[in-house]
């Protein structure tokens, strides 16, 4: 069951293409020759420059979805819409997107005569909830003891149940649910990244909760892996390593201050909410109980994580420090339907337009070059080999070659 067999995912539809996850997933799948067609649907314009992905705008009810699915003979649907943070959408509408929206997508996929065989669902570790009776590491086999609590938690439980029905009801169908830990560097404002961007990291007096993360790169990577391989069932997607809050604060170079009282933290959060600071219930529970996930099932299924939790927090710190410098930089990508149609359809287009590196992906290269200048020649050569074997970004390779030459000259 755990052996990943490549599947016949050739024609992929991604919902939520305009979110960072959806857009980056399309960018990740585009170079794969195995994937014939990528179609992205969303209610708003894409935020990412896409090369061969077709964008179709749908309304909130997605009535057009089944027509698109059958017309394009889609075999795999990747649903990235789940809002797992109250900052992503305000309270009630989040539940509408998460539960009613999922039901609509699943209904369109499960319609008789549908060609969809596989549904990959971006779920959340909020599925497990928080309590002091929990195991230190949730495995996929653990079922939460109590009835699902707050908004996001209940949403995740109900949405997963709807998705599971897709696989149960029809033969030859498969549903993959990826339960994501808290995402760092995701390009969206979330309650925990807002918490970490404060000048001090607030804590509850007398608690040092365990906390696990996943870097955006691995979110996209895990979704792409689930799209290209057969992974039936639920999988935790969380980076290696569970940190404690004081450790996170020191990695971020900030003090952790126990600002919230040990008793009545929920009440204090209510008061803050009244003042206009939306402190989500889940965040207060996280600060109290903490949570760890067992990520080994996805690893056994062949996915290799790029970042550990610690490295993801360090990335977040780099991002926090560089943000003031970058905000004045180049303008963001804007979707122009006519230009996109021209690039895709016109016979005059000779070479496909290269997607520009977006977000902080290019910064990682700069950082790498910055670090490399202090390395020994042997380590440099090793790094050069590693880069050539893995990502082989040209600018990094050129810079490393230059450094290697300079290192050899004096002798």
């Amino acid at each position: 069951m755990v052996d990943p067999r490549p599947t016949t995912s050739r024609r992929v539809l991604i919902t939520g293409i305009s979110s960072p996850v959806g857009g980056q997933l399309a960018q990740r799948l585009e170079p794969d020759p195995q994937v014939e067609t990528i179609i992205g649907v969303d209610t708003s314009d894409p935020q990412h420059q896409l090369e061969r992905t077709e964008f179709v705008r749908v309304d909130a009810e997605r009535v057009q979805l089944r027509r698109i699915l059958s017309a394009a003979a889609i075999d795999t649907v990747v649903d990235t819409r789940l809002v797992c943070d109250p900052f992503g959408a305000g309270g009630r509408s989040a539940t509408k997107i998460n539960v009613a929206g999922t039901a609509e997508v699943v209904a369109a996929c499960a319609e008789s005569g549908s060609t969809v065989r596989k549904l990959v669902f971006k779920s959340s570790a909020h599925w497990y909830g928080f309590s002091s009776d929990d195991p230190a590491f949730f495995s996929e086999a653990t079922t939460p003891r109590r009835a699902p609590g707050s908004g996001i938690e209940g949403d995740a439980v109900r949405a997963e149940e709807i998705v599971r029905q897709f696989a149960v009801r029809g033969s030859g169908r498969m549903a993959t649910m990826l339960r994501l830990a808290d995402v760092l560097c995701g390009g969206e404002r979330t309650s925990h990244t807002t918490l970490f961007s404060l000048p001090v990291v607030p804590a509850i007096l007398g608690f040092d909760p365990r906390w696990q993360f996943i870097h955006q790169h691995d979110v996209v990577g895990a979704l792409a892996h689930a799209t290209l391989h057969a992974l039936p069932g639920s999988y935790n997607a969380a980076a290696d390593g569970v940190l404690v809050l004081s450790e996170i604060a020191s990695l971020l170079g900030k003090p952790a201050l126990p600002l919230l009282p040990p008793f009545g933290a929920g009440f204090a959060a209510d008061q803050l909410r009244r003042v206009g600071l939306p402190v989500p219930v889940d965040l207060v529970r996280q600060l109290r109980f903490g949570r760890g996930l067992d990520n080994r099932r996805l690893k056994a299924a062949g996915y290799v994580y790029r970042y550990t939790s610690r490295e993801a927090v360090l990335k977040l710190r780099a991002q926090q420090r560089l943000r003031p410098l970058l905000e004045s930089g180049s303008g963001a990508y804007r979707y122009e339907p006519e230009v996109e149609a021209f690039l895709r359809r016109s016979p005059s287009v000779q070479a496909p337009a290269r997607p520009l590196p977006t977000g902080f992906d290019d910064l990682a290269a700069d950082e790498l070059i910055g670090i490399a200048s202090s390395l020994e020649p042997s380590a440099l050569a090793e790094l050069r080999r590693h880069e050539a074997a893995t990502r082989s970004r040209r600018e990094v390779l050129v810079a490393l070659d230059g450094m290697l030459q300079r290192a050899q000259k004096p002798q």
Binding site: V2, F137, T143, P144, F207, F289, R310
Partner: protein, 290 residues
């Protein structure tokens, strides 16, 4: 699924089912996927803080072990140098001096020191300050999934006190008389993980904070409100820790999983073994304090 029966998940984990060969193969496969070590970190994934523990080990534990309790250790060779093992000890006193001293003995007396994880009652982790402190010093909530991960996947030593809270509430008159070991959940954990059980008898721990009696301030409201009359300072009782021979893991493997009676019986045997050794050690010692 989750909202149909809130207790469903818990029973799923507790009901012992004999693992099939596929289960075993899968478990072995998952074992290889444990996260690698990050040498820069001073905290484990369990929240254990090497920094705080090291600091206390050099100061407080050092003093307690050598000068206050003057710990004598027997049979340290019974603690295996690799693989998971479950240490089962008698528990007494309001302070966890016994667990600290057992953990220190495993670090101190062996050529290759191994960390010991102490299983604590589950609800501790929700108590402010205490929960965080216990976690940082190597305490782990006694959830079956936690014990299994430590014993089977991570090959660690785990110390349990099957008497539980009842053992810590014993008065001085009941010292060295072991309470019931319950339904022997710890035996199941060891069997599932195929880890040997090492009974540990500790003499001295039950005189450290003697509970002379209890005063019910709030009447019969709760047992918790009954305030124990105890020594305000840990008394310098002489500690003797005896690690007994491991209960053969071969006999554990044949234990019928589905039979709670057999599990209970084995737990009872281990209890009797510790009790016997405790009485022998108490009979042999020259003084409680020297």
């Amino acid at each position: 699924m989750a909202d149909s029966d809130p207790d469903e998940g818990r029973t799923l984990e507790l009901v012992p089912t004999a693992p099939t060969r596929e289960d075993r193969a899968l478990a072995e496969q998952l074992r290889e996927q444990l996260p690698g070590l990050e040498p820069e970190r001073r905290t484990t994934d369990w929240g254990r803080s090497e920094r705080l523990e090291g600091l206390l080990d050099r100061t407080l534990y050092e003093f307690l072990y050598h000068y206050w309790f003057r710990v004598d250790v027997e049979g340290i060779e019974n603690v295996p140098s690799d693989g998971g093992a479950l240490l089962v000890a008698n528990r007494a006193g309001a302070l966890p001096a016994d667990s600290l001293m057992i953990a220190r003995a495993v670090r101190e007396e062996r050529a290759d020191p191994r960390p010991v994880h102490v299983a604590t009652t589950q609800h501790r982790s929700g108590v402010p300050a205490l929960g965080a402190l216990v976690m940082k010093l190597g305490g782990v909530p006694a959830h079956p999934a936690n014990l299994h991960r430590l014993l089977f996947d991570e090959d660690q030593l785990v110390l349990v006190f099957p008497e539980g809270a009842a053992g810590a509430r014993k008065s001085i008159a009941e010292r060295y008389r072991l309470r019931d070991f319950g339904d022997g959940e710890f035996v199941l954990s060891a069997v599932r993980a195929r880890a040997p059980i090492i009974p540990v008898a500790v003499v001295g721990g039950e005189e450290v904070v003697p509970i002379l009696g209890r005063v019910g301030l709030l009447g019969p409201l709760t047992s918790f409100a009954r305030v124990p009359i105890a020594s305000p300072l840990p008394l310098p009782a002489k500690f003797k820790i005896r690690f007994l021979e491991p209960v053969a893991s071969a006999s554990l493997a044949d234990l019928p999983w589905e039979d709670p009676g057999a599990v209970r019986a084995l737990a009872g045997d281990i209890r009797a073994l510790i009790q016997e050794n405790l009485l022998e050690m108490v009979a042999q010692r020259s003084s409680t304090w020297l």
